[in-house]
Symmetry: D2
Subunit: 376 residues, 4 copies
């Protein structure tokens, strides 16, 4: 793996590195960690990389790695830059024969996302989008229960992603995470929408297997001077007639990373909280509430197969993230060995396009006083 | 207290009786428990009432009690009938000089509610509406924290009231609770809206001290053949610019009585769950999360004054309900003794009118594809 | 009901009155609320009792009530005094033909308890001991599950009753609850042992249906100058070979009323927390964890029959307490009507004797450096 | 790092590898993964190790690695074998100049542990014992709070480590984890005592900074034919006069990995649950309960410094485990670079000796009907 972005001090770069390394399948071998070439190289050294694999730019990295022998050169790039720098390196890498893992939202604009899809198809390379929460064992169980009809027809959805870290004007401090997220040039037309809303949208569609047909969005810009949304309240209508709400926020004071979902069907329902990720609450017509746990009793293989340790040994954010990398790596190895994988299990550019449509529809709805906008 | 409705087998009649009796201030002395005169009298006997205080109709009760000596006759009526039978007995009682406690929603129609307000004013009698959840000690603490500015300016609200008992067609069974609730003639134009939505609306306005300015409602009628809503997803805009979502449902399979609220301010936030009513979760800019408990450390007097037992001894649904009765009775006794009460603390017809406006605005919004409708 | 003790300002007297009144079966008709005759009478007036039913002493009350016509006089006395004043009025009431409800621990000494048992037998009157927690619907469910063999043979028990209110020297303040509890003359030889330990002991034996065979107790007296235990750590051995721990404390700083129990069998296990009383956690060999709720799915009739309101409407401390009174009143009414009740469901003097044996065994064990002492 | 034990299919070997790799400081370079030389080599290949670094025995590995150039050879060994195979390879490694990380309990016997201490001293090499739970950020916070006097003098301790996986005779199935744990030859004189009891003991002494002075242990052997304890109930007395209970079990049916601790001081108290590891519950004399979270508000640097991701992003079992490895690696790098580390923060052989004393004292106490036995 070669990394693009994620220099020393970066939050998400470090997360990607840890997630990629947990399962022992992936090794960081090179990187272009910053648009500042000096910082890039220093970051690589801090990570114990040999100096000749610390590159000054992603272009250099891709071109030089391509020249290395196959058993030495990186297999894929991991793109962990702000949103505006997803598409250019992804395209460059794919066109030069490298697979790509990319952070979300997939690109800066919807047009880029659609173009990226074409680039991927043409390249015949793999592309994974790190909607990391779908790697959680309880999310897998929830999806499997829906897929197996355990809940019956879905009627109602509640999803929320609540954070409070933008409650004050942290973008005026030296908080790098905040400064680019409130900047449309680097973030795109969505603020909280892109940063966390896409996770919520992806989780809904992943677990239920249903597309959001249309939405009505009432966005907030509570931080003084903010151009992009830092809060959103949405109504959802799913393709099967189910209805729901989505609440997202980065000004929900005191909330840390409160992503949660409830899905109600005709015969069963599920509830999951990211901050307590090792429980799946299920409710039933005629049985008491049941709490599933990773590697615990009664799980579908889709869930138990992604756990690493016995029941009662909590896995967290990094482990779910790692599952995306593991499944991607497993696909990659199969590819290299000429084996077929029936249904690779990680988010792709299609998820990315859904996410961009979600952002665009929400912004359009908000401009029209929360009128309904279709997602297609 | 004389009761109207609430015959043997009734759910809410029994709740009112238990709630009224807990604090030893109120005694059930008579009743017209059913529109069926035979059933009414048998119900009274089952409650150990003397036969001459078991009446065949509420009119009879009110007229005959009026003739009794003041120290014997009932002081007020408690109306616990289906919605369509709130206004007629309330008006009759008030016009004959009796105070009234009435279940919610206050009336069948908004017009009735407005007329009732006039009747009350003219009668110079007390009127309490049993939005029972506002009697909870943690709800009182939440309100006091907002009132004292502890949360700062409110920015975001999430409220939900989720039940699952109408997930199947229970109205086709002999479930009396269900049959009238799905019938517009007895329930009014709102289904879940009136039954539980008004509680959610009242809780929001009670805790925050803010009025809902406008709302957008997307209602569901998931049960086959249902005319009234059994599910609702709403966007809220408060008078101060705060935004939020409301989710209500009686088809949220497996949910029992999941009323919950989150209020986020600029410097603090609160979270309360009715099913775990003895905790108030608070979050802060620079302190760890704090959990308040009834009669525990750090409460405002508005909260500690409504608890009955030491911290750690859970009070529940009936106790919160009882607080409405207790505060009403305290007001009544003060009135009798010629004392003044500065700020009686129980819901009134004004809350009832807000509730009716909420129902009407929601239904209108829903008819117009969830367009915004103002509440005033 | 006539009350002995429980004057204005008393904690437990008020609890008994509220608990007795909730279900509408019992009416407070008279009382001797204090050993101070003036205070007694004032307390009765505060409770709206007619002056001629406010007595100066329990002896006066019992003798005078006896002279009243049967349909007017009290049916039973409720004794809510400190421990040293349980036996004398109980004996006096029974010998004069009144049934008795008495707070725990049943008496000041074990000898008194054994004598009381004889008095009861001879009197042919009813006697209920208010081990109130056994009235909880989830405790009933736990007991029913054990009785029905759902857990299999019991192997392990953990029980705790943790409070923190004696962490500081509150007995030196004007805290009346504290002053008598740390005084051997009024409390007996057990401090926390009698006050809360007997509840823990009773809960273990009630749920499991097993007797504690022997125990080893290491008591603490952490409060300066305290003669009686304010903390206890115990090992338990049950008659069937099960083992366990008991931890009780009134110096567990910050704990409010944390009574909790876990019972592990060969095929199932249960867990219950008094501070979250509306959940029964169950664990199974091959199923996910299941959470039962009052009036929820899957309950035994022994549990659902003691709930008052629908699932999701929390019942608390007072309601469980009220169940003891309700079952006692039901028994009493059956008796009056000449009906038989197969298995009256409330704690009796036998439970009281077990509690006293528990206290005595614990104190003896502690004196012998936590040596094993049998309970029989 | 070279690994001893932990071949394909092993639970704890895999845990050590993942934990060591998360932070990017440690690389697995070789291993002797099994006493079966063929299996050892195949396991190494499965881990993508070059064949010449897959050794047939730990002796071979240590001797051959020693011959490699310093920048290539392993820096330390990680011993992840059953208990009887801790001491021999540890001693061999240390005497041949390699640092050691070893799983707990440190050795098979107390004598071995004491001898190991001498070997370590003589070798001048580092030795870490993986009491992994002490790596958790909330455990660090708890310890820091005690160290800073926030709780005041400690009075009461409750600790439990409850599992249910030995509820049935799994040792008669092909469960390799079970078979050696119930075998005294491989496990030592303690069963659950060694496997989980030592974790509980270590956690108590780590957080409180107090030594267990003496204990009384009542052990259970509930599984048919088991020689070693599968359950234990203990009384604890700490060196400062605090008292407490410990409950450990592997037959607590349905429990997964329920390690939990409560520590009560004179002015504050803490509670932590391993299965919900991202919360530290604290209670106070005059403040509401406060819940600390990793990287959340109000933490001591000793806690915040061991977190890897922002608040609300759960870290779990592996991350706490990784902190032991990270701190060990940091110490090792400092050593290599000639820097000094003031207070290395990972468990050592001294912790190991305490654990062995705990096992021995417990077994002795149990043999004497739970008599008190000192730990020194």
């Amino acid at each position: 793996m070669g990394m693009i972005g994620g220099g020393t001090g970066s939050f998400i770069g470090d997360v990607h590195r840890k997630a990629a390394s947990i399962d022992g399948l992936i090794e960081l071998v090179c990187g272009a960690f910053s648009s500042n070439s000096e910082k890039s190289i220093q970051s690589g050294k801090n990570l114990f990389l040999p100096e000749n694999r610390c590159y000054e730019s992603y272009e250099e990295m891709i071109l030089k790695e391509k020249e290395l022998p196959e058993d030495i050169r990186m297999d894929f790039v991991a793109i962990v830059t702000p949103n505006h720098m997803h598409f250019p390196p992804a395209k460059f890498a794919l066109e030069h024969g490298f697979h790509v893992v990319c952070d979300k939202p997939v690109t800066l604009t919807l047009d880029e996302a659609i173009e990226l899809q074409k680039v991927i198809e043409k390249s015949n390379k793999l592309f994974a989008l790190t909607h990391n929460y779908t790697g959680n064992a309880m999310v897998k169980q929830a999806k499997a229960m829906v897929d197996n009809g355990d809940l019956g027809n879905i009627r109602k959805i509640q999803v929320q992603y609540l954070q409070g870290w933008l409650s004050t004007a942290v973008e005026s401090t030296d908080n790098k995470q905040a400064s680019w997220r409130v900047d449309p040039k680097r973030s795109g037309i969505g603020g909280a929408l892109g940063d966390i809303g896409t996770h919520a949208e992806n989780l809904v569609e992943y677990i239920t297997g249903l597309k959001i047909k249309e939405l009505a969005a009432d966005l907030g810009r509570f931080g003084k001077g903010r151009i992009l949304d830092d809060d959103g309240n949405l109504l959802l209508r799913m393709e099967n007639g189910a209805k729901g709400t989505m609440s997202i926020s980065q000004i929900a004071l005191g909330e840390e990373n409160n992503l949660a979902i409830r899905v109600y069907g005709e015969i069963g329902s599920i509830e999951w909280h990211q901050e307590n990720p090792n429980e799946l609450i299920t409710r039933w017509l005629d049985k008491p509430k049941q709490i599933y746990t990773p590697n615990g009793n009664g799980l579908y293989p889709e869930s138990s197969s992604v756990t690493r340790i016995p029941a009662g040994h909590p896995e967290g954010y990094l482990e779910a993230f790692a599952t995306i990398y593991k499944n991607f790596a497993t696909h990659l190895m199969a590819l290299k060995e000429g084996r077929n994988i029936e249904k690779p299990d990680y988010p792709t550019v299609e998820d990315g396009i859904r996410g961009m449509k979600f952002i665009y529809a929400s912004v359009e709805s908000d401009k029209n006083n929360a009128a309904w906008v279709k997602l297609n």
